[in-house]
Symmetry: C2
């Protein structure tokens, strides 16, 4: 008796069962139920799970490519996912603003920077694919009406100023225009809809998903029904990382307990990634979880300080409260800086968050500076004596450190930590002083499911793409290696979302 026959017989057997009865067979212990038995409640050409950068870019591109019915399913009560609260920083090599400002840069140079930060295990081919298409992705946001600050920033680990930032200094400056554009193109947007499993056809191809409606993420309950949703070309999983899944992140790094701060929305729990592992996706680099070295222990989540300090690091010094001395290159890559900050501890091992000191009139150039002061997560001092007294920093070595650093500002060479001083030119550390405290927060998961340059998800046993399944954005892993450079997530998410849509449109999913 062939599988076909079994399934046909089983279909008859199951006729008359509602969606609920069927879901009981499928979930949670089986990794997918056979589509032969499925009564489809909804059918679309392209089904997208999630609504962040990757999902929205995919939805828009799918429409551009002529895919007729496109639906987004988002588990949270609002659209935009974790993308909407990220820093809104977008690295693009050879961008319009670089050309205007005469900044020399290239795909090769950006890839080289990322490979270095990836510490030998990044996926060069994927990084190159993203860098080559980053301008297209940026253009999509221009077309949607996204607005950016009128200057480029040089972020930690980048060898050139190549980073745009939204005027609102967060990702919503991109997700909101993209959301509107997707709506205007006829993408169906469904919120409080949680994907609970895959529906598989012959040979394991993904033909659809089960969707629980009226989902309340805070209580983790669905008050609606379970729909069998069919995807004619592909299901794209673009659900982000798992930074808020405490058990999973502690399995990878026992120090990342629930007490450790996290910049992500509560919904970043990774269940869709775990479902993909259950159908054979290859887990890659889950152990590499990134902490953001620009975060403040004085506020929750990403807060106001993160973007403030990302902007200010090039012309600031980070000093130990215990020694008054610098302890890192302030624009090294994220891992280097986070590790250096975490070493700031007293004799008993308790954290002593270091200080970032900036000349107030340089700091004030960033839109968040006033909010940082207003909400009491940053401090302004007229004299170094006041600063030292407030934070109990030894004054004499601090003074000497600032004088030494200011000589590096003049010479253009940081003799202590080799910090590139280009963006610090003319910007002495001097009164009045702005100070924020620094302590890393869990920010980004380099790990996820292995994907190829078509956004296909590879099967761990056959090595071949799982038919009908695509993944893009933070849920995909292995691209960045040990440590992702700042502002490289938006280009990755958008380019891989666009790529997924093209794969689906070409009938290659």
């Amino acid at each position: 008796m062939s599988e076909q026959t079994i399934n046909n017989t089983r279909r008859k057997l199951l006729q008359g069962l509602g969606a609920t009865g069927l879901a009981a067979v499928a979930a949670p212990t089986l990794a997918g139920t056979s589509s032969k038995d499925t009564q489809w409640d909804k059918t679309y050409d392209f089904v997208i799970i999630g609504s962040g950068f990757a999902a929205l870019a995919a939805a828009i591109e799918a429409k551009k490519q002529g895919i007729k019915s496109v639906a987004i399913f988002e588990q949270m009560p609002t659209f935009g996912g974790n993308s909407s609260i990220n820093g809104g920083l977008f690295a693009v090599p050879g961008s319009p603003m670089q050309k205007k400002e005469g900044v020399k840069d290239s795909v090769d140079q950006m890839v080289a920077d990322q490979l270095k930060s990836g510490r030998g295990i990044a996926d060069e081919a994927l990084l190159r694919h993203v860098a080559e298409h980053a301008n297209e992705a940026l253009q999509m946001t221009f077309d949607a009406g996204a607005e950016y600050l009128p200057y480029l920033q040089q972020l930690g680990g980048h060898s050139a100023p190549r980073t745009y930032q939204t005027t609102v200094a967060c990702g919503a400056g991109i997700t909101q225009p993209l959301y509107k554009m997707a709506l205007s193109k006829g993408v169906e947007m469904n919120k409080r809809c949680r994907m609970s499993g895959f529906i598989r056809g012959k040979d394991g191809a993904i033909e659809g998903v089960t969707i629980e409606t009226r989902y309340y993420a805070d209580r983790k309950v669905s008050e609606g029904e379970t729909l069998n949703v069919r995807a004619r070309t592909a299901v794209l999983v673009a659900t982000g990382g798992f930074s808020q899944n405490i058990a999973l992140r502690m399995a990878q790094d026992p120090t990342l307990t629930s007490d450790v701060g996290c910049t992500n929305i509560k919904g970043a729990t990774g269940e869709a990634m775990l479902e993909m592992f259950r159908i054979g996706a290859v887990p890659v680099h889950l152990a590499h979880i990134q902490s953001g070295p620009w975060a403040s222990p004085d506020e929750g989540g990403f807060g106001y300080v993160s973007n403030y300090s990302i902007f200010n690091f090039p012309h600031s010094i980070a000093v130990s409260r215990l020694t008054g001395q610098r302890f890192m290159n302030e624009i090294a890559d994220r891992k280097t800086r986070a590790d250096a900050e975490l070493s700031n501890r007293d004799a008993e091992g308790n954290p002593v968050p270091p200080l970032m000191i900036t000349h107030y009139h340089d700091a004030d150039k960033h839109p968040n500076c006033k909010k940082v002061l207003k909400y009491g997560v940053g401090w302004k001092f007229d004299t170094l004596e006041d600063l030292a007294k407030h934070f109990d920093v030894p004054l004499k070595p601090l003074k000497a450190q600032i004088e030494e650093y200011n000589r590096y500002v003049d010479s253009g060479v940081d003799e202590q930590f080799g910090k590139p001083m280009g963006e610090a030119k003319g910007k002495h550390i001097k009164a009045p002083f702005m100070v924020v405290r620094l302590w890393p927060k869990v920010h980004y998961c380099q790990g996820g499911v292995k994907v190829n340059q078509m956004a296909q998800v590879e099967d761990s046993l056959t090595g071949k793409p799982i038919k009908g399944l695509l993944a893009a954005g933070e849920v995909a892993g292995g691209i960045h290696g040990v440590s992702r450079l700042g502002s490289c997530s938006i280009p990755e998410c958008m380019v891989m979302g666009i790529t997924a849509a093209r794969t689906a449109a070409a009938g290659k999913a």
Copy 2:
């Protein structure tokens, strides 16, 4: 209609289907078929997949605990797995030989050494569990008739000499006695039998496995039948690591291509681990793959040099062929040394494997020394001039380096790399010289499925143990963190195998 009813109806429907028809439903796209439909071909109390240290220790302990029928299924044509070709090095704190020799050591001290090597992400509770039971495991090998060299070794990263080594200098010195003991206790041993999937009962509990008989690993084909094998208490997966799965190891680290040497048997491909991910096991630390810094580029696999150099590192120097200088603490942990060796490259980045130089009459104390010379993977020189000429090392700095190192031997303090000099006492580097070349080979996977202290495998979505499933040995991940210390695999495998048997015997699997 309840799941129970569906399954009952389905069972009727499927009656009359042979094992082959059923297997077609189960494999490879579904993560497990329902046991309700299963015609069991074989039934045991305890089913063990694999036949290395963990599997054999579990089988023997299961019998001791009164479990009646115990069966081992091994995919290769011989028993012992990768364990049989490992170094036969067994670290035990507070062992009989330490007591006899007056070596101060403790569980705490061994755990502390391992936590350091694990670089902050090892599982302290599991390490402690293993260290606390290591003496029991050692005793099991004594009882089985395993024989050890009459001295302890202090391996890289260990703060005390605590490592036994089998007289045959490989793991077969343990697996063969254990195999015989298991047989004598009535354990059923099946070879060329490959597990191809899990059979799940109500609520997803593992009730058995599918076993393909007459399996030919070299051709990856089964010429026998597919058996449905029932496990009344538990299935224990003890199948080792995935060092020989090129695609999977390259997904984690693109530099580990098929050109990179590997110390493991061909069967170390990790499919059983991948099957466990398909039923919801948590992937942990797959990105951390260890290379052995004691391997030689002049022979295949583990070869003769590995154990030779493990023994000799404490009283040898490792020098760069380009500079004639030392470049590492010769008994640092494995990752530290492997990374240091890999940095030995010419201006074009091509490997220039460094040299390990030992006084011949110290080197000769190791049983492999003669074989190293016989098979041309080591060289003996009467003068330093001959050595330098043969390997094109600059003589003057090499000579100065050796003189400097010999002063450290006298003073007991390595001023260059902080190597603990206790075991080097009185052992100058002098003529005649023995030399081997060093280059890391892929050796061990720190990653695998997450397990707890009862060897239970946790479900990624519920966090609870997957009922009926246990895992032990290298297939389990997360215990050692970033880098495992040498000689800590045998205690882990055996203790966790014994633990698994006790969990099964207590009816807690």
